[in-house]
């Protein structure tokens, strides 16, 4: 208990915890779970956007989308590395993803049906991710906080790019406007769900707040997101698919904010439990990539060992 108190004191003093520091098992477990989920989300998140690379409507957009998907892979890489500092291997995490034991952001269980979905994902999904992640740049665990700083910078570029796709569509033909509106209709509610259950129903919230892994509650972040996003959408002529959405000048301690409708939590849990439109296809795609790639990874290992053996033999021969 003295240890726990000392640890909490370091946290309270805003000291960063580093991998070799002693830490409570629960802290380590929570971080492994959260960083792992975050990494998996980046990896699985490559799929819905990857689905449009070969059909991107212009070379410029194709290049931007390739760069974005590459960035996501990069984020996955930093995050797996951050988790590895806590004593879990990337292979282990991958197995947990493929077996369905580890979760990833449920939003990626929706399909990308039109090009506008690429805009909507950038604008809304990356926008929501940033809301979640900016506070993580000050997370108590050093490697995670540092990874987040880099990730946030790139995500905010992606968010602007996504918004710009939506803007271009809203300035385009009627078909394009319809496409953009349809994408907003489909992605808006799932984006709000990205912040997780209401604070009253959230499992891990309090302890994570105390350990400064989390710094804002789910509902606080969701409100920030709505307040930031609604004016952006309205500015380009989009209508949010929520009849209860309206400006409330009394909200946010009198600074004003948006009231919004009830989230369909049944839908949320339905998808989290694996019954969303794309859950199985996502995991199947990742599993196929992993299994089809086994011989490649084996070969890389075998070659590295051969090289090492040859280098040692050469060294001995030279002695």
């Amino acid at each position: 208990e003295a240890f726990l108190a000392a640890f909490q004191a370091r946290i309270d003093a805003e000291e960063k915890i580093e991998p070799n520091d002693a830490m409570p098992e629960g802290y380590r477990r929570t971080l492994i779970r959260q960083i792992g989920q975050h990494a998996h989300s980046e990896i699985v998140g490559m799929l819905p956007e990857g689905n449009w690379i070969t059909r991107a409507p212009s070379l410029k957009r194709k290049a931007a989308l390739l760069a974005k998907v590459q960035d996501e892979g990069g984020h996955g890489l930093y995050l797996y590395s951050a988790a590895e500092t806590l004593g879990v291997s990337r292979d282990q995490m991958t197995e947990e993803l493929l077996s369905g034991k580890a979760k990833y952001s449920s939003i990626f269980n929706y399909p990308t049906l039109t090009w506008a979905d690429i805009g909507a994902i950038g604008w809304l999904v990356d926008g929501a991710a940033i809301m979640n992640q900016i506070p993580l740049c000050r997370c108590s665990f050093g490697p995670y906080a540092r990874a987040m700083i880099r990730v946030c910078k790139e995500e905010s570029f992606h968010q602007r790019q996504g918004y710009e796709i939506m803007m271009t569509l809203m300035r385009g033909t009627d078909e394009q406007k319809e496409m953009a509106q349809d994408a907003l209709n489909r992605w808006w509610w799932p984006s709000l769900m990205m912040f997780g259950p209401h604070d009253s129903d959230s499992q891990h919230g309090d302890q994570s707040m105390k350990w400064k892994i989390k710094r804002f509650s789910n509902d606080e972040l969701r409100q920030k997101f709505v307040d930031a996003t609604v004016p952006q959408g309205e500015f380009i002529g989009l209508t949010f698919p929520d009849p209860d959405l309206k400006w409330n000048p009394d909200k946010n301690d009198g600074k004003g904010g948006y009231d919004f409708g009830k989230i369909d939590w049944d839908e949320f849990w339905h998808v989290v439990k694996g019954n969303g439109p794309m859950n199985r296809d996502r995991i199947a795609a990742r599993r196929k990539a992993w299994e089809d790639g086994a011989w490649v990874r084996d070969a890389a290992l075998a070659h590295a060992e051969k090289r090492k053996a040859r280098a040692e033999a050469a060294k001995i021969a030279a002695e």
Partner: protein, 253 residues
Amino acid sequence: MTDMNEARLALVLRLADDHLILGHRVSEWCGHAPMLEEDLAMPNMALDLIGQARSLYQYAAELEGKGRSEDDLAYMRREREYRNCLLVERPNGDFAHTMLRQLYFAAFMEAYWTECLTSSDETIRAIAAKAIKEVAYHIRHASEWVVRLGDGTEESASRMAAAVEALHRYTGELFQSDAVTDAMAQAGVAPDPASLKPAFEQTIGPIFAAAGLAVPESDVGPRGGRSGIHGEEMGHLLAELQYMQRTYPGATW
């Protein structure tokens, strides 16, 4: 003079199509690579290729002078009008095929761009200067894999050998000269492709040796890409590539 302009346009379009189509193929791997590092490397290489294709299509559009844009050229031609070599349109196959295809193309383009550094054409000089750095990375990345797979496990060695058997015969087309390349070589715009074979072999040779692969004696195989006679996979690739532009003609994205 018109003939020279036409040859220049034809040449630039060939190069542009090569890069677009190979970029398309490589991009098909995104999210499906054998390991996360390759999920980064694939879009990275595709991005280089698409970037080069853009510069080339922009130049082609300028040479053509008919007000067509890079996207018009990339998306709105018919299959028989694409002039890429057959190598770049070959289906991805397994990872060994993809890496070998990348190595072949990059080894050829490195020799090509090197000659273009002293091109009489300023735009081509500029494109070459940028591309040559990217192509060096492609060679490095692809050759590391060719060696690892060739000198890895029994399975990987046999897959790598199968890739060589399947793809080497498509390299012959790279070195083919014709009226277009002759005119451009004479004008000092771009090298005669036939002249690049020694450099290509010098790049490939040591890599194949390290990988324990034999360089096939013959590189004779199907040809026709430069006159728009493609393989049957090409039409399916184009159906994807052109989908949006064909479905929403005239829209801005």
